[in-house]
Symmetry: C2
Subunit: 419 residues, 2 copies
């Protein structure tokens, strides 16, 4: 049977627009992967009357209600009170939950006010969802044919609570298992990827193929349902291989978090070090590489050369090159990468130079004209980019950094630089 889900978020901060409802997004992704149909998102503020009305509507149309927020002392445990009342349940004191609240305050060295123990009052007969990421426990129960799951609102608690607590509970509702793999691609547009796959996508029912596009990258999620994980994997594997065959070296990984992660892993495997010289990306390449915990094992550092002076003095880019070709040129990109390799003493160096906008440069280069380069022991390779004048500055910088990472992962995998 197919369940229909409503996600009910409680929080005035959402209605004021202080934050976007990313909880609902993350939950929706996870629920779709479980094969559950999310049909409604609702947001109400910390207001008992409107929360009550929203629950009454949800109860009438969904058979799974997942709430986020409105737990904990700052809102008088609004969500728990309203949901318990709606399903005619009493709140009862749960000593293990109380102990975990006390322990949490002791561990973090903060004084605990008494109202915190309210959080240990939970609907009678519920499954307690232990919160290892904050103080307010979640809970789940079934009543009147509806499954109710309550999760805390802060994303740093909601996400792990969903993955480690709610998901196992929801999996027990669905027969069999759902498994998926994500194939990540770089260097192909979404529409061209979809065009190549359209017939297959429409013909497939199990596994299914879902394409996503983001900041110049694409991914394909392959999802299968089966009685066991083994069977699901057996269904998935041929499709994953087929997709990999179809898109060849545009596939940079399966179930990997990002292009820069693949670069860092490749460096670790090969025992090589990386550095970068950035002009138009202005530190974004280094920032993305060092977002990855443990990058320091292979990433030596970077030089952001935002002026010709720094290009000359720190990267030893020859003045003649800058005068003859301008800072935005393949020649300068190559010299920057080679200079970074020398200055930083790394095996591989990446570079970027270009016009991120909003205006053309003083040589008349259009916004979106970019060059990335890679220098290795075997020489230097430049990739010229024409990213167009329409994307915003931030997007241009992200795409440019990704192209530099693509050069590195191709080198580390022994692939041709231009596929």
């Amino acid at each position: 049977m197919s369940h229909t889900v409503e996600i009910l978020s409680v929080g005035t901060e959402l209605l004021l627009g202080n934050v976007a409802n990313t909880d609902a997004q993350i939950l929706s992704q996870g629920l779709s992967e479980l094969g559950l149909n999310v049909f409604w998102h609702t947001v109400v503020g910390d207001n008992p009357q409107r929360a009550r009305e929203a629950v009454s509507i949800a109860k009438g149309r969904a058979d799974v209600i997942i709430t986020t927020g409105g737990l904990g002392p700052t809102c008088d445990d609004l969500t728990k009170n309203v949901l318990a009342e709606a399903f005619g349940k009493k709140l009862v004191f749960d000593e293990p939950s109380a102990q975990r609240v006390r322990d949490w305050f002791q561990r973090t060295g903060r004084p605990m006010t008494d109202n915190n123990l309210q959080q240990a009052m939970l609907p009678e007969g519920c499954t307690v969802l232990v919160n290892d990421w904050g103080t307010a426990p979640g809970c789940a129960f079934e009543a009147e044919g509806v499954h109710v799951i309550m999760l805390p609102g802060p994303p740093s608690e909601c996400r792990p609570m969903f993955h480690h607590r709610a998901k196992p509970y929801l999996l027990s509702l669905s027969e069999g298992v759902i498994a998926s793999h994500t194939v990540k691609l770089f260097g192909i547009g979404e529409s061209s990827m979809e065009a190549q796959l359209r017939e297959q996508m429409n013909a497939m029912t199990n596994p299914t193929l879902a394409p996503y596009a983001k900041e110049g990258e694409c991914e394909l999620r392959v999802t299968a349902k089966a009685a066991s994980d083994e069977e699901a994997q057996a269904l998935l594997q041929p499709t994953v291989e087929q997709v990999k065959g179809l898109f060849g070296d545009k596939v940079y990984g399966v179930d990997v978090p990002s292009l820069e992660y693949v670069v860092i892993q490749g460096l670790k495997e090969k025992g090589l070090t990386l550095g970068c010289a950035e002009s138009c990306t202005g530190g974004l390449m280094a920032k993305r590489l060092t977002d990855i915990p443990g990058a320091s094992a292979v990433f030596k550092g970077g030089i952001v050369s935002y002026t010709n002076e720094v290009k000359q003095n720190v990267l030893q880019v020859p003045e003649e090159l800058l005068e003859q070709h301008g800072a935005v040129s393949g020649q300068v990109a190559a010299a920057m990468a080679q200079g970074a390799r020398r200055a930083l003493g790394c095996d591989i160096a990446l570079s970027s130079t270009g016009v991120a906008g909003p205006d053309r440069d003083d040589r008349g280069n259009e916004v979106g004209v970019m060059f990335v380069a890679i220098a290795t022991q075997s020489g230097v390779h430049v990739r010229p980019l024409r990213l167009g004048t329409r994307p915003m500055r931030e997007r241009l910088r992200i795409q440019t950094a990704s192209h530099a990472f693509d050069l590195a992962r191709r080198y580390l995998s022994g692939l041709a630089f231009e596929g």
Copy 2:
């Protein structure tokens, strides 16, 4: 009179979690600033039956319904059809809108299929909201005591359509004008800011004070309603001055976008140049500075020294210092800033070193132990930070970079480094 608003978003992509509902966030912010109460967000998919039911609920509880998405040919103009039907209105052909659709396709050089002209079918008697950012026009009407405003879904269309089309329409609903100023603070916690303001905030009705916190920064929005902008400004000014007086040099600006923006502006005013040397922030400082268009006029560049080797070779940090105090120390932070000032040839240099996690460093420094420094012609100043082990790696890096920017804006404003 006070209006109550429901934002109804139509789009299966939201229910699948492909994107977060940022339209609802942006609209909520704008509506709150207009003094309208947003009480509900609802999301439904591209499904006529569920959209109809959601409209019927919204009609029963809100007196302003703003829809996003579900306009245009890919969804058969679902939203327009459902809303017109719910309020007993016919859709009629609007030739000016049809002409704009034709013009849009001609301008972008794309072939127009006939279904695009469906977009010119609009509820009889509505106010057409001309879409200069895409093809689907928005519209607004009042019926049965409810104001209905329909906006396109893509954020790149929804945002300008809200600001340039919906806002003027909504302003005509409210008497007088609403104006606001935002006071930005750094170096004070949200709870301490609120504690200092609580009595005032509760006592105030016009203007009102609303605090927000974000990544270690705080802001206070002061909003006033009056018959004219002059009167509103006259109401706002004393409160803005009062807040500035109360928080002194923790206020870094009024109506400014960010700390780094204030730094770039200060450098331009003083005719000084900036550079940075980053360890734990790994390029984030340079990235944030170069996010600002025109930063190149004053930002010379940066060095990401992720290894001791780069600290020694590029920044000339003495080996003895690294051995004696370790890379995570005030001494090394100072030497990095001085080294960056020399290597980059800039007037002011900022530096960062610390443990961003997830693990302690090899000298046993806890996650969250950070040092930022500033080097100028008059010497060097180090600020030690203990940011705690709880924030995530990304947040620690953001806060550390902000502390370095705080040193720069204090120097540029002639303030003491530690307020």
